[in-house]
Symmetry: C2
Subunit: 180 residues, 2 copies
């Protein structure tokens, strides 16, 4: 009973495109799912599930988790492993791709070149494994952050103090949460 009902069939919004993919796969199109979708589409470049929980306020937490998982299955979202160990999500346009993540500001670039297949062939031969997939994330600092840090040691020190995955997950989570 919210305003965001289906729009005219010839001017399809992003939501409707996704809804169509749901239908095609035999999933039901519910108001909650629409709301989660709207919440996802309203996010910036990447976001946590909690962000969506807050954005889709009338939807239960469990349902947000379920819906996000569904969107992952449909390749509508992809996961980003930040170097602090937290998982973020982002709309996935391309097919196979990986992420280049700035450790300071969190900016994320997709990239599609992947050198892993060659490695995989050799591994398969050497180890006798059937290789089925891989996970690759690259971490660095974007130009803006690198430049800013030339003299100002402000944000950098805090953010990059502990670089190992999961190290300061707690602290960073908290900071990010309070920030909104």
């Amino acid at each position: 009973m919210v305003s965001s009902k289906r729009t005219a069939p010839d001017a399809m919004s992003d939501i409707d495109l996704i809804v169509e993919r749901l239908e095609m796969r035999g999933h039901r199109v519910t108001e909650s799912r629409r709301r989660v979708l709207a919440g996802v589409l309203a996010q910036p470049a990447h976001f946590t599930i909690d962000d969506v929980v807050h954005a889709a306020r009338q939807v239960g937490r469990a349902t947000v988790f379920r819906t996000v998982k569904l969107l992952l299955d449909l390749n509508i979202l992809c996961r980003i492993l930040l170097d602090d160990g937290t998982l973020h999500y982002r709309l996935s346009t391309r097919g196979h791709h990986h992420h280049l993540v700035c450790r300071d500001c969190g900016r994320v670039e997709d990239f599609t070149r992947c050198d892993v297949p060659a490695l995989v062939r050799q591994l398969a031969r050497a180890t006798d494994y059937e290789i089925e997939g891989h996970w690759l994330e690259v971490y660095g600092r974007c130009r803006a952050c690198a430049r800013r840090d030339g003299r100002a040691r402000s944000g950098r020190a805090k953010n990059a103090a502990r670089r190992s995955i999961g190290a300061t997950a707690g602290a960073q989570r908290r900071r990010r949460t309070q920030a909104r």
Copy 2:
């Protein structure tokens, strides 16, 4: 006050080798740390922090976490991201390496060939990032598991039903936990 005190200086155990590295870096060598170390060394190929918490029974949980983190810093342990999203740990012998993980039985092989640097150079040029590190895990099925599954569809179906990272983390965690 436990039996595992320092042994003769000319027959150094694994523990003492690590203890030396702690001392070199100015960390104190406490009984708790020795116990965690012993717990770690007693594990199979890879393990969770919880495994160590149980193995080093007289040591507080927080201290186990702190000590494992310390061992990561010292490159004595490395992290393995299982394809169900759980983190495991293993003794790290080599330097830069990655893991090939069997999705069915959890067997892990280290491999040192890494094709990422070439990719990184190209990325650095294309995106203007200063690239500082990467995370790569490869998933597949070891020969034993592949063969066993030829006809017996037992374990495989359960384990590989959901392949996305984190999907069945709960269920698998539980299974593994009960198993001991």
